[in-house]
Subunit: 468 residues, 2 copies
Amino acid sequence: MVERVLGYIEEHFEAHLDRTRALLRQPSISADGTGIAETAALLVGWISELGGEARAVTTPMHPVVVGGIDAGKPFTLLFYGMYDVQPVLGENWMVDPFGGEIVDLPGVGPSIVNRGAMNQKGPLGSFLNVLQAMKAATGELPVNVKFLIEGEEELGSRNLPEVVEAYREELRADACFFPFLSQNQDGKVLMYLGVKGILFMELVCRGGDWGGPTTRAVHGSNAVWFHNPTWRLTHALASMVTQDQKHILIDGFYDEIAPPSAHDEELLTRLAETVDPDDQLAPNDTHRFKYDLAGVDLLRKYLYQPTLNIDGLISGHTAAGTKTIIPHEARAKVDVRMVPRMDPALTIERIQAHLRRHGFDEIEVHVEDAYKWSKSDVDDAPVRALIRTYHELGYEPEIWPHLAGSAPFYLFTDVLGIPVALGGLGHGGRVHSPNEYATVAGLLDHERSIALFVYRLVEELERDATGA
Amino acid sequence: MVERVLGYIEEHFEAHLDRTRALLRQPSISADGTGIAETAALLVGWISELGGEARAVTTPMHPVVVGGIDAGKPFTLLFYGMYDVQPVLGENWMVDPFGGEIVDLPGVGPSIVNRGAMNQKGPLGSFLNVLQAMKAATGELPVNVKFLIEGEEELGSRNLPEVVEAYREELRADACFFPFLSQNQDGKVLMYLGVKGILFMELVCRGGDWGGPTTRAVHGSNAVWFHNPTWRLTHALASMVTQDQKHILIDGFYDEIAPPSAHDEELLTRLAETVDPDDQLAPNDTHRFKYDLAGVDLLRKYLYQPTLNIDGLISGHTAAGTKTIIPHEARAKVDVRMVPRMDPALTIERIQAHLRRHGFDEIEVHVEDAYKWSKSDVDDAPVRALIRTYHELGYEPEIWPHLAGSAPFYLFTDVLGIPVALGGLGHGGRVHSPNEYATVAGLLDHERSIALFVYRLVEELERDATGA
């Protein structure tokens, strides 16, 4: 069966590529809503063409496409995807960012250059193409499929938890898959067994009963006897992290953190053989790390240390020229990356307690996003299936205990209770930047690896079910 | 003589008011250059109509009107003025901000509502009207007049020092006058014998060899092992001032500060009888002072303490929504109000030394403005003349040792070596805000008080010259 599907994919890849390019040409910018409704409708139509049923579930912001294809099979795969992309405003592209054009990129090869090519409409198109190939080549799917495709990933997946909660029964599945172009420019396959959690919040200090102007900026000469909310926020922030930025000074912040498991330590040791952290400096235009560590010790910090990071800061007069004022408010955007087993609610409480304890009672904490880390296990069926897939296609994946970044996979591992695999062959780049791309050859490999993965997943689920 | 002039002003006030309104209708926004050249040309023309000679001296930014009227008299008055105004962009006005309209304001009375009505084209028009009245009523001026009228006051008078230096000989005078609507809404006359100095600078922290991304923001997950320039600036700022904002922690910052002189202490004691600092809270929408002091002790802080104030702060992601990044730079606009006898250059050096001593070598200090305080003495001829003027017109001025704000009067007191008086009757308000106004009755009083002041100034200068 799988050979027939792989053969079909190779033969019909031109048509598949056109389909993916059509999806990419349809703008779907969640930040301003451009093309969001159209894209959701397009996906609903595509799923019904595949013999499934889907609808755009409305949320307070953008719809989530929820649906499924009942193949009459014993196992069910939940496909998690996203159809929204980052804006292109103010960016300078070599081609129309929604033109679906193929450009021969030096050192990379022919690639679709388009917003969303890698993140994440390219892989989304690939997955749907694979299902089409299965039906066309074999007359059926080897697994039932459920779809959960959101339109707010770039805005922090804020309404996804409620949709998952509301459709909990319908979304019941044996495994979850998120397609991802996993190869770097050298062809190495990177595989992640989980993600960190995240807390995104705004700290706001306004003038009030404690002092400072309350409704508008006032003349700067008053700084001699009025408080300045900007000083206040500055002191509050500085109290949270040591000057060398290595230690977070919030009581209890590190309390629940689990050290790497024995298996993760093994992965780390292996990783240190293929990964040189120094390689991360140049692509990020950064000259040094904040720790005087190397190899496995630096990787351990990278994956198992939480962060408290200032994403943005604003107050008062920020344009050119002279203007002396006491601003009436100051705002900081701050994020925390939570490693296993930090708890979002506890972490928020500790930050608030820190502010109180240090006399900053009046600083408001507005939590905008909060979700926990998520881990799958190398022994989980979808993970085993994905590793088998890579091996069969001739790749030895570099396995990371988890990503340093975040995604709301806890909704699957913890809320729905199903293991997650993310991956697939293929290469792309410049995510969230001008000239985002996915290579044409990589998209073919992506489809082939996804098809193989689905068949191997069914085998692994069968093995678990039969206790074999 | 003076009675004839005062009579002329009363009789011809309609025409004078029209002239001032014409000046106000001509926009002169230094921030974007609107009408700057036209206004300078208009003033040059007006001065030559008065029998004087003037030209628009070009600078790297906006021209300064330099000129004079030689009346063949023994004494010379330097008139310092400004013809530029704040922008009106984004403000909501009850009338056209450049319509020169007269509106009967509740509780205030008929007033010109126009950008610059109080700050500073209303008083500028008044001064020129007074000269016209003197010529028309008496055929001559009682004093030679020099003009120095700049078009960058709202941008920090950045090119004024060089013009003063270049025209030092031509600007030679016995006294300097800056007209100002000095009455508050209750009619009380406030009189200031000087101004504080100012230092306006930007502190910039960029990623570099010390750490942090160097050319663009990078993904926030890297905060676990990269430095963040925003944390760095936050710590640097927090190290400069105590958490209660009462003390500046920069070594030597207070070293040159002179305690109030015996005479200033007298003024302070007298001030405390008529000034309740608490009256400053409500108009500034502020609930409390940072010092638990009252009366003369609070006023002493207000006038004799330097400030280190954050005017603005910006870094990274400041729009709505979630975006996790490490910004590659963070910027703070900071001003210092310097009291007598702080030295701008020494103060800058101390701030830089503080940054070095605390390990913030890489934080750049860009000084945008730096000028010292300036004080005149109650015994200086123009100050004596102005106090006599107020008394003759039935007002007892409330005399302040100096203003809590800043103006580059050191150019006159220190560079040209001539005493300065600022004042005149009249009331206006909402400076730098929508619906800026000057009352019609106040503008008449302003002209009358300026005319009387000029005659009294000549008498006081004569007294000093003859040692009487």
